[in-house]
């Protein structure tokens, strides 16, 4: 087991499409399971971010105080951080709220009074703006696409695990 690469995935503000695309690896998931161990992810059980992560794939943009804490934590615990999909790289759809003031957005949706999202409590506070990963922490690699298709993801993962320094190019880096 110890020879396997320890992979984590995270899901911030995004539609989960990148994770769906990851599951679209289909039968390649069996080969993935031989090469890597999924130690933390929305699709496995552990609730705490473990130490000693080799690669963290992060879907979604950084939208809340909790996501920002998790991003900083996983950056400390992971050797390689990968921005996984357009939301993580550009802000994409969740960034559509950015031109409007945060409180105005929250009030429009939740109304008056002590509404969720204004300050961190049971529900995390919404950050002033949804911003991509690289505006908060050092990001090592980028997998563009909304969502990145399974072939893109597979090429990236296999190259990273077997050879190191994956390089997506041409149509593989197209946004959208």
């Amino acid at each position: 087991m110890s020879s396997k690469v320890r992979v984590a995935t995270m899901w911030f503000s995004g539609c989960s499409g990148c994770h769906m695309s990851f599951l679209d690896l289909d039968e390649r998931l069996i080969e993935f399971a031989e090469l890597a161990e999924l130690v933390y992810s929305p699709i496995v059980d552990p609730k705490e971010i473990p130490d000693g992560i080799d690669v963290a794939l992060i879907e979604g943009t950084v939208n809340t105080t909790e996501q920002l804490e998790h991003l900083r934590e996983i950056r400390e615990k992971a050797k390689i951080v990968v921005a996984f999909g357009d939301c993580a790289i550009t802000g994409n759809v969740p960034s559509m709220r950015n031109p409007s003031p945060r409180d105005e957005v929250l009030r429009t949706v939740y109304g008056r009074g002590d509404i969720p999202g204004l300050r961190a409590g049971d529900v995390p506070a919404l950050l002033p703006r949804a911003r991509p990963l690289q505006e908060h922490v050092k990001v090592d690699y980028y997998i563009p696409g909304c969502p990145p298709d399974a072939d893109r993801i597979w090429k990236f993962i296999v190259t990273l695990i077997k050879e190191g320094k994956p390089r997506l190019e041409g149509e593989e880096i197209r946004f959208g």
Partner: protein, 234 residues
Amino acid sequence: MITLKLDGREVQAKKGQTILEVALENGIRIPTLCYLEGLSPKGTCRLCLVEIVNQNGKLVPACVTPAEEGLEVVTHSDRLAQIRRTIVEMLFLERNHICAFCVSNGHCELQDLAVELGMDHVTLPYRYPGLAMDLSHGGFGLDHNRCVVCGRCVRACSEVEGAFTWGFAGRGIDTMVATDLGTPWGLSETCTSCGKCVQACPTGALFEKGMATAAQIKSPEIIREVTERRPRVF
């Protein structure tokens, strides 16, 4: 004829040709955005910058610089790649380009440039400005969020259609394209609804109404075709 060097290769040019035209004739691709065949070149986007080796590596926009005898031009280098990538990064972060649900997704010259120049992320902070749309016209729409202010619509409208509906308003980073000095497009008295501006637009900023995501496929080459049949007056 003029003789000059492009990337170390001797090539022939006619007097009056630009460096970009000579490069195209010789099969050398130089990235462009504000340039469109059939319209007057303006050299504003700076993507076609090339280095003049025998002028201390001076950077000049290829689309507006005449080919001259003895010029040694470099069209691709690490320095130029870095400059061009930064320009495309700044075009992306300046407004709200959200490819995933844009009408031009997959058929966009800005998106194509990011692919060509290897831009998989931007290295500067996004601005996320609050920008409006103009949907007052019956057939077409304008989304400032997706506009790169290349001015191709402005030139197509004035130089080819002769309507002079489109112009620029504001200065610097606040520059916006505008119809009839800021009148809503649908109330414009000069617009002929010819649609050349939409076809000339490289992104999803100008689009045909009713288009779904990724459905807007444009034909900017019609500008060249029209001007071949009916030469521009100016």
